[in-house]
Every structure is written in structure tokens, then in C-alpha cells.
């Protein structure tokens, strides 16, 4: 079966004040403001080819509004529309959005709003198309400047059901599971065409919960550089710099000024997964080491703190 979704394309996240949010997301995180439109701001990372990957929306609470997944080919959007019909999942067709064409929008069993789309403007990254250097020279030197959006971790009241939905209907494939005593997956790390450890991960928790969204960081030096910048700007670090057993990625969990958790995720230590290979299994006994490899236990905020 071919991959029909390429990757996590964008996340829309609620913030309590758009001015303060933009100060943090552009000056500390180092995202580029594409445009501010009404109560929303569209942002992208320097190596993002597509129009944007983060949407900030001013609201009275923090948390996730929606996540968009981009298909590999245009006809894949129709494929998933048929699939949703087949599984009797209600959906809306959204004809267009900012710099984007048609999307199908639906709610997954955990209450999160997902969109699947193909058409979006592709202005390119911050490098020339012809004979580019490896990185742009005009980035803010004291910002984190992650190159790409990486993945998102959400919480689900019935994680087993949500995992099954994402696998069967959305055709995510699992790299790793945490299984309970009955062998049922209660947490999953799910991937698509990029074959990175995850585009989407699911753990138990409240419905509609956003545990974190993550940006790719390319080296150990960059992870520590990111940590330095967080401390210089008095950013609340939740965990790290550390390493996950699951995915093998190195990372830092930290909070935006409204309590949304973000991760800078070190893909450089993580694997690329062979399609068809069997998922890796963790148990409730070993999951502490799985999530936080060096600490070998869950930090108290992991299952109790999210927006």
C-alpha cells in the first residue's frame, strides 16, 4: 500500500495575546511571520517549502484548534474523502483557506479536528532554488531557528480506539507502541511517508488535549544552543535537554507564554523506519525509560500537564 500522506503540514494553536505570542514565536523560537490576518498569524520555519506550518489564533484559552496533514498526491484527498464516507465519519469540505486550496475536515475519536489537503502555495524555503548554500545567512542569531515542523502528540480518553482510527482510516503506520497488560496499544508513535519516527503520537488523557507540537533540531550542538536561548529568555523548560528511548530522539520540552508545550526534537539521533518492519513494543513497566531514557521514569508533568 502506498503512502498517501506526506507529513504533518500545519498546526493551529490558540494563544491568549497575539502580540506577546508573536514576540515569542519570532524572536525566541525564530519562526518567520508570513502574515498577520485579523486574529490569526501564519508562520513558517526557514526550511519550510510550503506557505506556512504554524497558525496562531488569539483566543481566551490555550490549546489546539486543528492540525493539517498534506497528502503525497492531489488525488489522495479524494481517496481519503471516500475512505471517510466508507467508515461513516462525518466530514466537511473546506473549499479554501489562507494560501491553501481544498481540504477535508473531520473530527477523530479523541475530539481533535484534522484536515487533509494537498493544494497549498509553495513559495519555497529561505534559500535560492539555484545553487543554494546549506543555510540562510540572515537568521536571527539569538533565536532557536528550527528548520522544520516535526510532529504532534495528542491525548485521547480512549487511546486504543483513536490509534486504531488513525491506522485504519488515515493509514498511519506505527513505529512504536506502549501496550497494556492485555497487549492493547495505549500509546502509539505513528508515521507517514517521511518515515521519521512520528508525525503523530497518541497517549492517554483528556479529549482534544494538545500535549505538544515539535520542531526538528539537526544536531546536539543545536539542542544545547536552543536550551541556552530558552534560559536567556526565561522560558519555562519542562524537561531536557534529554533523550527519549522511544524514537531515540533527543529533545527539550518547554512552554510558550500561554502554556502550550513545544518540543525541539533532535531528529539527528532518531531512526528512519523501514516500512513493513514490526513496530517496537514498550510495556507499562518499561515506559518510563521509553519516554525519558536517562531519567528512566515519567516526570510528573508528562501525563498531567497539557493544554
Amino acid at each position: 500500500m502506498p503512502f498517501r500522506i506526506s507529513r504533518l503540514g500545519y498546526v493551529e494553536v490558540k494563544v491568549l495575546d497575539l502580540d506577546d505570542a508573536l514576540d515569542f514565536y519570532t524572536n525566541v523560537l525564530g519562526l518567520h511571520l508570513v502574515e498577520r490576518v485579523g486574529n490569526k498569524a501564519y508562520l513558517k520555519t526557514w526550511d519550510e517549502q510550503l506557505a506556512y506550518s504554524v497558525i496562531l489564533t488569539e483566543s481566551d484559552s490555550a490549546g489546539l484548534v486543528r492540525a493539517g496533514f498534506r497528502t503525497v498526491d492531489p488525488e489522495d484527498v479524494d481517496y481519503f474523502e471516500k475512505k471517510l464516507k466508507q467508515y461513516e465519519v462525518p466530514y466537511e469540505v473546506i473549499p479554501e483557506d489562507y494560501k491553501r486550496g481544498k481540504a477535508i475536515r473531520f473530527t477523530i475519536p479523541s475530539g481533535h479536528t484534522f484536515e487533509i489537503y494537498y493544494d497549498i502555495e509553495i513559495p519555497g524555503n529561505f534559500l535560492p532554488k539555484e545553487s543554494p548554500d546549506p543555510w540562510p545567512r540572515n537568521l536571527k542569531y539569538d533565536a532557536i531557528n528550527p528548520p522544520k515542523i516535526d510532529h504532534m502528540l495528542i491525548t485521547a480518553p480512549d487511546p486504543t480506539k483513536t490509534i486504531k482510527f488513525c491506522e485504519e482510516v488515515l493509514e498511519f503506520r506505527a513505529t512504536e507502541y506502549i501496550v497494556n497488560g492485555e497487549g492493547q496499544p495505549v500509546a502509539a508513535w505513528l508515521y507517514q511517508a517521511r518515515q521519521q519516527p512520528h508525525d503523530l503520537a497518541i497517549i492517554p488523557g483528556r479529549e482534544k488535549g494538545l500535549h505538544h507540537f515539535a520542531f526538528h533540531i539537526s544536531s546536539a550542538q543545536d539542542i544545547y544552543h536552543a536550551a541556552d536561548i530558552m534560559v536567556m529568555n526565561d522560558v519555562k523548560i519542562d524537561w531536557g535537554p534529554g533523550r527519549h528511548g522511544i524514537t531515540r530522539g533527543a529533545g527539550i520540552y518547554f512552554f510558550d507564554p500561554f502554556g502550550n508545550r513545544i518540543e525541539t526534537f533532535g531528529g539527528y539521533t532518531a531512526y528512519l523506519f523501514d516500512p513493513g518492519a514490526k513496530p517496537i513494543i514498550w510495556t507499562e513497566e518499561t515506559m518510563g525509560r521509553g519516554v525519558f531514557y536517562y531519567e528512566r521514569k515519567l516526570v510528573e508533568t508528562f501525563l498531567t500537564v497539557y493544554t
Binding site: S61, A62, P204, K236, D238, G259
Partner: protein
């Protein structure tokens, strides 16, 4: 007493500590080595919800984590609440804050749902 410096009394532990002008209840507690529960520290996650008797500035908080009704009923998020007079605080179930404090149990108390793992 200096303007903005107020006494915070943690019950039923009956510990009294003071906040600096403009300091949140959580920052004052942590500075005094009192481990009040806390998570994001930005008013977004709600795990630092406590009861408060006395006037506070509730600060910028997510409305779905601290509703207007909860504010009237005497709840606040300690990470954002700044005392405006001497206040008395307690965990939301009135239990003593000690080594047996359990984040998962407190999460269930606040959100009415249990963490499964």
C-alpha cells in the same frame, strides 16, 4: 507592611510565607521551598489550581482552566495569581501538602478524569 508585600498562609499545613510586590503565589511558595503543584506556569494547563481566600489579581489564564464561575468560588491558578492582600490558600480538596502529593490524583480531582498510564 511594605506596599504589595502580603502574607500567604497555606492551610491545613499552617505555614505562613510572604510574597514580594507583584510576585505570584507560586513563585513566592517556590522561593520559600514550598512545592505547590505546578506545570506550565503560564496559566494554560490548570494543574496549579488551588483555593484562595482573599483578594488576588487572577492574571492572564486560559478560561477553560479557570472559569469566571471558579474565580467567584475562590479558586485561582497559583502560577498567575498575585495577592492584593493577605490571603489563605489550600489544595482544592483541602488536603495537607506533603511528600504524599500525587500529580495524577490531583489531575483527577481537577479534571474529573484519570490518567490511564
Amino acid at each position: 507592611m511594605q506596599n504589595g508585600v502580603f502574607k500567604i498562609r497555606l492551610m491545613p499545613n499552617d505555614i505562613i510565607f510572604t510574597c514580594k510586590p507583584g510576585e505570584t503565589i507560586l513563585d513566592a511558595a517556590l522561593r520559600n521551598k514550598i512545592s505547590l503543584p505546578h506545570g506550565c506556569t503560564k496559566g494554560g494547563c490548570g494543574i496549579c489550581k488551588i483555593k484562595v481566600v482573599g483578594k488576588v489579581d487572577f492574571g492572564r489564564v486560559s478560561k477553560n482552566r479557570l472559569t469566571d464561575e471558579e474565580k467567584e468560588k475562590g479558586f485561582c491558578l497559583s502560577c498567575r495569581a498575585v495577592p492584593l492582600e493577605d490571603v489563605e490558600i489550600s489544595l482544592i480538596d483541602g488536603s495537607k501538602l506533603d511528600e504524599s502529593f500525587d500529580y495524577k490524583r490531583y489531575f483527577s480531582l481537577i479534571f474529573g478524569s484519570k490518567t490511564v498510564l
